[in-house]
Subunit: 302 residues, 2 copies
Amino acid sequence: MPTIIETVPNFSEGRRPEVVQAIVEAVRNAPGGARVLDISSDADHNRSVLTLAGEEAQVRASILRLFEAALEHIDLRAHRGEHPRLGAVDVVPFVPVKGVTMADCAGLARSLGKEVADRFRVPVYLYEEAATAEHRRNLAEIRKGEFEGLSRKMKDPLWAPDFGPAEPHPSAGATVIGAREFLIAFNVNLATSDVQIADKIARAIRHSSGGLRYCKAMGVALSERRIAQVSINMVHFKKTPLHRVVEMVKSEAARYGVNVVGSEIVGLVPNDALLAAADFYLRLEDFHVSQVLENRLAEPGE
Amino acid sequence: MPTIIETVPNFSEGRRPEVVQAIVEAVRNAPGGARVLDISSDADHNRSVLTLAGEEAQVRASILRLFEAALEHIDLRAHRGEHPRLGAVDVVPFVPVKGVTMADCAGLARSLGKEVADRFRVPVYLYEEAATAEHRRNLAEIRKGEFEGLSRKMKDPLWAPDFGPAEPHPSAGATVIGAREFLIAFNVNLATSDVQIADKIARAIRHSSGGLRYCKAMGVALSERRIAQVSINMVHFKKTPLHRVVEMVKSEAARYGVNVVGSEIVGLVPNDALLAAADFYLRLEDFHVSQVLENRLAEPGE
């Protein structure tokens, strides 16, 4: 059975289409590379996000090629954008999807981080499940001060990089590489245009204000459809599953006399996240994913 | 993307383990054959059922090997069992699972039927979606009279075989080959030991007594667990989906003040059947199966 690691590298270019295209083409044509599943660029953020998936050697080859191309085309000294960033290749998370553990992905982050630092002279910070200290787990903390403050920040021993030189790459800054769970972007739409209700529901369900541990949420107005939406990031769907969020949103919404009209999965979702929802709602007893025909076929041969 | 056809051949031996094993091993080792996913034998029925899946050429190779082995080991003249049967290899359905149509499977049934008749001198009837006349669609109708009545039945022009000689193979009888939708064996367990309630619910939901078109059902007592069960065959899960059956069982059960305690999938289920349940219960808007990461990876390369 082929194993699957997802990687979602963010690089700091979202305004010059010819540059985005050159970088994407380089990644897409990386020899022995992974499949590029999605590309999204944002001009306000001046940033692009790729989604790739494949076996370990494949994602490694693609990410190394991304560094080559990004260093060739991006100079952070001339970069402006709304999204905080530290480097030309800003963040590279590895996500275990199939047949690999989180430890495998953290190991890949470490070995690739070392290779990036050695080959490109770009300092590397390890984050989330690959972090080497508790204060370095959180991406926002590492990125605080951004590219412009990096030279000073790196002089603080607390913020010495995990790999590479103790000063920023002149044009490419630094890079944050790590391992994390799959993130599902999931929105629930409400039969009301009152965004305050969506906000209240978001506060009820999200971890930061007392809700579900692996759920982030905020209220959003969908002005075109004239409805409000609870916009959700599911950061660990195995521990905080989709159905529990949906049922909690329904219950909180009912308290305001509001119905749920639908929900949306933005981008990609692992098959197992949806199987878990089917398992819950169909009240399956002793269900195992090996009962899924396609999974059985993918099992090692007899 | 590899295509998937499932085939569920039934052969007339379920008492002599050494014979079942010899036949299964022959099928398993068929050169270029399909994966054997499941084997179930029943001594009362004196019958075994294999589940295989693979590409068209693979299932074809496996089924031809099955005929060779079954004809070698089984003599219907000495066969007794509770389950009706017409031949040594009794029934061979082909089921479209992925990237193939029902028409493809009906075509395979026809071409394989002809090859079986030519090579083994076994008369072949085509059934269900491969049937050549309306009165031959139903397996039970074709099998009526069984092996013992076959010689006489075949003299009736209405029951001339689709391929092969107009008289039974002396030891192997005749074979029924066809194409049908995937069958999901699905049971819903009730919080009551009263099997009459399960019977009433079964009558409400099944096609034959006015219920859902592609649903067969009956009430069963699970004496060990002291509960009653609605035992269901879903014969076209795309048109009569799992969630609709579960919701209807819940609603009918509530009318007797009974709850649903759980449900079971017996054997294998196509991934799409469970995704459809997740889609319904999570109220997904504009969801497409290509949003499932594993499906995206399996799509043809860029």
